[in-house]
Symmetry: C2
């Protein structure tokens, strides 16, 4: 606790000395990246800082309801000549994982690294790391309460969204008493659980809903139902004009079945490439599988892309999943 | 707060004087009924009481993982000659809503009525009512902490299950800072969010998953997508050998679509009868519609059964839903 207070103080001091600040996160930002970055921006703006949020990758459309979301710039569109005094990198185990944003970070530019990934490399002038936190937003909320920043309605919404998505709706084992207390505090400060949940989890387009129907009609079970694979082929994707980011949440459905311990959603990305999202229960580690293919994620939720057409990708991943399932059960 | 302390004390005193206690809840018990009853039973047993939980209606199979669930007796199977000194009725607006259990409650038997429904009639020797509570389990947890009952792992699991289901996964507007704090406390005391969520929300049989596929392929949207109806006809139900209680959660899917403000799931129950579960967002009150047909529920989640075949039932309910949608939007 005293250690946390000390690092909060150090962060505050470093921020105080900076005029123009860059915020970024990992490639293909998720709910925790986006919500945490936006809340951090509000705090910095309240201190009179000039702030840029720049990310590599696009924003899944379910997050477009977030206050200030239009303040996030894709690196491809970033044209400013501004020079940054400080970079604050959130939810990113290594600066290389910011993708092309890393080119904006000068060799001597101080970095603050705030993360809850256990494999964070510890980079930055200040590395504020807490692998026990459910989300970076949980850490940020504590920081804000500590330094006396008055979290307003939009910031509460941003932070709550980050926490709810990074805990899989208060479901992952990272969800602790503290997580719930922080979320409760954010509700009191203006986060509306219904509005936020509706926007994230109950906001499918008609065509996505029909696609869900297809996915649930055509899934396959393997190894006595322990493994469930669902697939979206090119035709299904094209027919419904999908953005790959918008089908991300569907990976969750692979674990809907009783007895399923590993699930995989395969999305055909044009010809010859397949994006695979993996989900698992308990101690089954799919993060390790994703790492093997250059992807990333956590023990129970991970993903990667592979240069194989759908069928071949399915055969390959099924082999890997069988190995971890039979190695652990 | 002082008022709550006083009523907690009164409850404790009444319980102290009783030897054999009946616990019940409303017909067709839900997650809050079941979890709260089971936790209350553990507490009473710890005090050396003889306890019976008797309900009218069956237990949805998703709750069969709950510790002590086999302690719940259906009124049809209740054969004991025990005489009760006290009845504690949870989550039940009126003693009549206990169904046939009401015949077990003698005219002079003291009753404790613990509920969070705003329309509770205030019956009982003690009526502990808090319409601001997200669930009766939230109220019970506070009671347990107040009287010094050491909530153990099974009780924490029972209470957390009650809260998560009665808030629709911390989603309904009843979810407050206090709800989250109570849930956090229960996690600390042994409730496992992952295990509980997996059992309730990720535990479909293979045939149910295929049924979800059908429901999502065949839903209908009306009035510019504001109303979504899904239907399970006799063939679909028979084909998959479903218990009606097991498809209850599917009503949630009717609100998956962006822009949908009212949803209805229609289940054909043999010939000539249809069970309808309604869901709505925000201020749209489907509870009122369900009441009109002799059903029950809350503003945003309600249900009833109607003596009409599927098609005719759909026409009738669509007419009602159009009225409330166009009256409010």
């Amino acid at each position: 606790m005293i250690k946390t207070k000390k690092i909060h103080k150090e962060i505050e001091t470093l921020i105080t000395g900076a005029g123009t600040i860059l915020i970024s996160s990992h490639v293909d930002p998720d709910g925790d990246s986006l919500g945490s970055q936006l809340a951090l921006r509000r705090y910095l703006v309240s201190l009179g800082k000039k702030v840029w949020i720049v990310n590599h990758g696009s924003i899944p459309s379910k997050y477009m309801f977030l206050p200030d979301i239009d303040r996030i710039v894709r690196i491809d569109n970033f044209k400013s000549e501004d020079r940054f005094d400080l970079a604050i990198i959130l939810e990113c185990p290594d600066p290389g994982r910011t993708g092309d944003v890393k080119h904006l970070i000068g060799a001597n530019m101080p970095m603050i690294n705030i993360d809850h990934h256990p494999d964070n490399s510890g980079y930055g002038k200040i590395a504020h790391l807490d692998s026990g936190a459910s989300a970076v937003a949980e850490m940020l909320t504590e920081y804000f309460l500590e330094v006396g920043y008055k979290i307003d309605d939009p910031a509460a919404t941003q932070l709550y969204t980050a926490i709810i998505t990074d805990t899989g709706r208060f479901r992952f084992s990272s969800t602790t008493r503290k997580t719930m207390e922080v979320a409760g505090r954010l509700i009191e400060l203006g986060a509306d659980p219904r509005y936020i949940s509706d926007n994230i989890y109950y906001s499918f387009s008609e065509s996505t809903m029909r696609l869900i129907g297809k996915v649930f009609s055509k899934f396959e079970l393997f190894d006595n139902g322990k493994i469930c694979l669902m697939a979206l082929d090119n035709d299904m994707m094209r027919l419904n004009d999908f953005n790959s980011a918008d089908t991300e949440g569907m990976a969750e459905y692979t674990l809907f079945g009783r007895g399923v311990i590993v699930g995989g959603l395969l999305k055909e990305m044009g010809e010859g490439s397949t994006k695979i999202s993996l989900r698992s229960r308990n101690s089954i580690n799919v993060g390790e599988v994703a790492h093997r293919y250059g992807g990333g994620g956590h023990n129970n939720a991970a993903g990667f892309q592979i240069d194989l057409p759908l069928k071949a990708a399915q055969e390959k991943i099924l082999k890997d999943l069988r190995e971890i399932v039979n190695g652990t059960v």
